[in-house]
């Protein structure tokens, strides 16, 4: 112990406090980092919504009647009414049936390019970029009584990470 030695006490108090502050800063930043971790479930959420879109347009591997012949306006209406999706800037859904250029786009259109980059996977993106999931299936449909197969592609992007907020906005 350096008790009784003036210089020793000074060194002890200044440096001891400096060490304490250093340790406290370490512990506090550790606690903050741990409790501010975002459990990112957007990819899982996008997969769930992707499956939901297929549930809406597919029945036992067959394309549900009406989708093949619907124009973009009707398809959008059918999508909203039958598939029960809520338009939001936080979600982007793209449904492409066959090679038709009339793909159905729903929700936050600004995510189109973001999803392209995300699915491309070549660039390291910030966590604020949406998470996107794309799935392609071959579905059966009938044209003039003839059985045909068509590619159906569904892309879902989700932007929101959730928000810490004082009240429900």
């Amino acid at each position: 112990m350096i008790l009784g030695k003036k210089a020793g006490e000074k060194i002890l108090s200044i440096w001891w406090f400096a060490v304490l502050v250093f340790i406290a800063a370490g512990i506090l930043s550790g606690v903050f980092m741990f409790y501010n971790l975002e459990g990112d479930v957007r990819l899982l959420h996008a997969k769930i919504l992707n499956e939901k879109v297929f549930d809406c347009i597919e029945e036992n591997g067959f394309l549900v009647d009406g989708w093949m012949s619907a124009d973009r306006g009707l398809a959008k209406k059918m999508f909203r009414e039958k598939c029960k999706f809520r338009a939001s800037p936080d979600v982007y859904i793209r449904l492409t049936i066959g090679n038709s250029p009339q793909e159905l786009v729903f929700g936050g259109l600004s995510m189109k390019e973001d999803c392209k980059l995300r699915l491309d996977g070549k660039t390291k993106l910030s966590k604020y970029f949406p998470q996107c999931y794309e799935e392609k299936r071959n579905l059966i449909y009938f044209k003039s009584g003839e059985r045909k197969i068509i590619d159906v592609e569904v892309l879902v992007g989700i932007k929101s990470l959730g928000e810490r907020t004082g009240k429900l906005k």
Partner: protein, 127 residues
């Protein structure tokens, strides 16, 4: 003249300050680790994903035991608010703020807490 091993006043002040400092530090860490921050986020996301995975006329029972315990520790009423008009789930368990997460299915959703069984019942219906 000071004797070797004698406790001086500055040393005593220093000791008291150190103890106060450590008590405050550990109190903060204990309060932060009550789990409210984490559970609010977990349950908001869990509820939103459960709603989006469901079809109309579904009843979902979620075990919210940990959330209720956390709210009890924080001496606050747990809040599980599901706004089916805006499509937002908001959970507050005693942190100064709560956590909100969106869902995208256009259903009517009602909720009820069963404190005895520690369950949150969600009823998903067609709008």
């Amino acid at each position: 003249m000071k004797k070797r091993g004698e406790i001086t006043l500055p040393f005593l002040i220093f000791l008291v300050l150190t103890v106060i400092f450590l008590v405050i530090l550990f109190y903060f860490v204990y309060a932060a680790s009550s789990g409210a921050f984490i559970y609010e986020q977990i349950y908001a996301k869990k509820i939103a994903l459960a709603i989006d995975s469901s079809v109309p006329e579904t009843e979902i029972f979620l075990d919210v035991g940990s959330a209720l315990e956390t709210a009890k520790k924080s001496k606050t009423e747990p809040k599980f608010i599901i706004d089916d008009k805006k499509g937002i789930v908001f959970v507050s368990l005693g942190s100064r703020k709560g956590f909100s997460y969106p869902f995208f299915s256009n259903y009517s959703v009602s909720s009820e807490i069963y404190a005895k069984t520690h369950n949150l019942k969600l009823v998903v219906k067609e709008k």
